[in-house]
Symmetry: C2
Subunit: 137 residues, 2 copies
């Protein structure tokens, strides 16, 4: 699967899984909503109040900025399976006044953000490699 095809399929999903590494060296993975612009993937920490304002994913990325994002498609017919992975390096934009491009992309993509655009920390992943697999290919 070439890079353009991988990116298109990645963008077709409303959800991806963000894999990071904990400071103790164990892996961690959470689902995220996201937006893609070129080789940048944006995801924001919810604006809703959280018990833990500083989430594990943020602590992990501060320790190890390399991360991996996965989109996959399951079907009972296994010849229809595919997945796309974006490996990259993350930076965290804490200031709600910054990261406007990412916040705009997220707000455009998810109507949920129309009333309250994502004001929490923004994760900006610079994708270094798009990889994909398609059972039918």
């Amino acid at each position: 699967m070439d890079t353009a095809a991988a990116r298109r399929r990645f963008e077709s999903s409303p959800i991806a899984r963000l894999a990071t590494v904990r400071p103790d060296g164990a892996p961690h993975v959470v689902p995220v909503v996201f937006a893609v612009s070129g080789d940048h993937v944006y995801t924001a920490v919810d604006h809703k109040p959280k018990r833990h304002q500083r989430l594990q994913r943020l602590a992990n990325l501060a320790f190890e900025p390399r991360c991996s994002l996965l989109v996959d498609h399951y079907d009972h017919d296994w010849s229809q399976l595919w997945w796309v992975r974006a490996d990259g390096v993350a930076s965290i934009v804490d200031d709600p006044a910054q990261g406007s491009e990412g916040r705009r992309c997220l707000t455009e993509r998810y109507p949920h953000y129309h009333d309250a655009s994502p004001a929490g920390p923004l994760i900006v992943v610079e994708v270094r490699r798009w990889a994909g697999w398609d059972a039918a290919a």
Copy 2:
């Protein structure tokens, strides 16, 4: 979400995402089909011939056996979102004559395995922690 509820929801999905750590310390994530028995999660490397017989996930787990498995549910209505994560330690059973419990569980769960039960390396994850999040809770 208590452990029993987390395990039930995890089992309700035909697919999970397996997060591991590469020998160079970067995270890695792939979708997997799986079966659960108590606090063990089983997943097998496909019996179909692969270009890379020794997959990245196996190399990663040989280096760092800690891993994390994620099941999530997306809905346009964000009050319906939930996810469950199983953090554990993996061992790899290379011998097709071993790991019969795991291979049996996988074959029971996926009709695709009825004709050819999973004969490749079996990954056995001993789950140390079931964690979950439910937007509606």
